[in-house]
């Protein structure tokens, strides 16, 4: 177990270095001279040289990368060109929108999908099962942002139950803040629910076909006990894994959804930063999202290794939905 953990941590460090290196090259090296970008085309050569020296751009690339990386470790993401404040402050101000949005979306996904998946597996090849499968196929085909637009059209424009966009402060009106995230979270969550319902159904079917289920039934256990205590507990392991892995995708999906609902989260921040050519902000937010996805993958690998010792020597188990 110790060797497995050490190996995974080494792989994690290598992956994090590669991710940061890739983002460094893509956003710091390829676009050209950051000093020119910051000062504009009117800048004099002396001013450019002075800023290059101040930013450390006159040093070798490896030194620049090392300086950038050491600053990151200290939580220093640099300064925004547009807002002229530390990027870490900007990110911190946007997290109270994006993190609750992602958690709420996962909550909706789980409460819809797991009961549906169990129902479909228990009623295999019956109308209810077909209904769930049709729901999941349609859910997989609908883009989350279109679902968001339709929700705005129906719940905000037609019924006027919700506002069409914007977020409220958690400090001033916690309920208002929650309400402003409901429709965006539902748009993101329902699509995830389609994936999870299919997965839950397939894992439950696999579990229900195992020998220990036959044994439990032959012992005279009630069907509810067999399904919920024996089959579900085993079937949920891959489902929980996928829920974890979807958190990363949700953060990326939030970039689009936050724009649909005009929510001041990380997604909106990075989107506006592209328009403003504020590359340090794009770099900081991308790095944060990519790091989060890598960390979640690492967590999943480790949990799998703990739960199933056979996987400590092999690859992560492939899950077929």
């Amino acid at each position: 177990m110790f060797a497995f953990l050490c190996q995974r941590i080494l792989i994690l460090i290598a992956t994090l270095l590669l991710v940061s290196g890739m983002i460094f090259i893509v956003l710091q090296v390829i676009p050209g001279d950051p000093a020119q970008i910051i000062l504009g085309i009117q800048a004099t050569p002396e001013n450019l040289q002075e800023l290059r020296h101040k930013l450390g751009l006159d040093q070798p690339l490896a030194v620049q990368y090392w300086n950038w990386l050491s600053a990151l470790v200290r939580g220093d993401f640099g300064r925004s060109i547009t807002y002229e404040v530390p990027i870490s402050t900007l990110i911190a101000s946007r997290l109270p929108v994006t993190i609750p949005l992602a958690i709420l979306a996962i909550f909706f996904a789980v409460i819809f999908s797991i009961p549906l998946g169990i129902y479909a597996a228990v009623h295999r090849n019956q109308p209810g099962d077909y209904g769930v499968m049709i729901f999941s196929q349609i859910g997989l085909a609908i883009p989350a942002f279109w679902a968001g637009i339709l929700f705005i059209l129906f719940f905000a424009v037609h019924l006027q139950w919700f506002s069409a966009g914007g977020a409220k402060s958690w400090m001033e009106t916690p309920l208002g803040a929650l309400k402003s995230l409901l429709l965006p979270a539902l748009s993101l969550g329902l699509i995830r629910a389609a994936v999870l319902a299919r997965l839950t159904r397939s894992c439950m079917l696999e579990a229900l076909g195992e020998d220990y289920i036959r044994t439990a039934r032959s012992k005279g256990l009630a069907e509810t006990m067999v399904v919920y205590k024996h089959a579900l507990r085993n079937a949920l392991i891959p489902v929980v894994t996928i829920v974890g892995l979807q958190m990363g995708e949700l953060l990326a999906g939030a970039i689009v959804i936050e724009n649909v609902f005009n929510l001041p989260g990380l997604g909106r921040l990075i989107f506006l930063a592209i328009g403003q050519r504020d590359l340090p902000v794009v770099q900081g937010v991308s790095l944060l999202i990519a790091f989060f996805i890598v960390m979640v993958n690492f967590g999943v690998d480790v949990i799998y290794g703990v739960v199933d010792p056979r996987l400590r020597v092999g690859e992560r188990k492939e899950i077929v939905i």
Binding site: I11, A14, T15, L18, V19, M22, I23, V26, L27, I30, P31, Q137, I138, L140, A141, I142, P143, F145, W146, I149, L150, I152, L153, V157, G248, E249, A252, G253, I255, V256, N259, V260, I270, F271, A273, I274, R277, L279, V282, S286, I289, A290, F291, I293, V294, N297, E315, E318
Partner: protein, 258 residues
Amino acid sequence: MAIVIMAFLSIAYTPHDPNRMNIEQRFQSPGSAHLLGTDQYGRDILSRVMIGAVNSLIVGWVAVGIGMGFGVLLGSLAAFWRGWKDEGVMRLVDTLYGFPAVLSAILITSIFGPGIINSMVAIGIFNIPIFARLTRGASLSMWQRDFVTSARAVGQSNQAIIWHTILPNILSPLIVQGTVQLAIAILAEAALSYLGLGTQPPHASWGRMLSEAQTFMEISPWLAIFPGLAIAWAVLGFNLLGDGLRDLLDPKLTEARP
């Protein structure tokens, strides 16, 4: 299939010029003159939805082509090399896996600017790790098979074995995955165009149409309905095609079928 036919048809015929503005005809409800209505510039929505299909399919095919090309190459080499080279390639693949399509598109467009080519490249990069992992996994088991040993015994080069023996045998899962990725690429292209990072105006794209529709959907809700339906229809079609191909090509499922 209907989407593909519509896309090909739209190259030769659309009911109206998809980019022609007619202010007098703006916000027309669906009717006999304009089957799906008109938008804020009086452009025919059906014609734009038809042309949008071409854009979506081109972006999807090219992106999957990029992902499959590079992914199969990396996966095949990793499976052949094994050892530290394999580990190195797979770590690179894992790194790419940390960038969802929207994120890689944001990185690319923030440097090179928005556009259809950049969105193809971005979605293509997102596809590389998926095909690389699939190819490596499938190739690893192939290298242990007797027919590969036989090919070696008769003196075939490693390159020839990969090209003529390994790849034809792992083609089925690649085709199935390609179909599924095509559906995902269409969704990603729509999301990027919605954000304004993909296809640029005046060219029609389903995501862009939805983005424009959001401003006017209170007075013209159909603007937000039909392009979304087209996306869902296309994605559903390719997902079902992928499921069908999997059923047809997966030996385990074929044997299980009564």
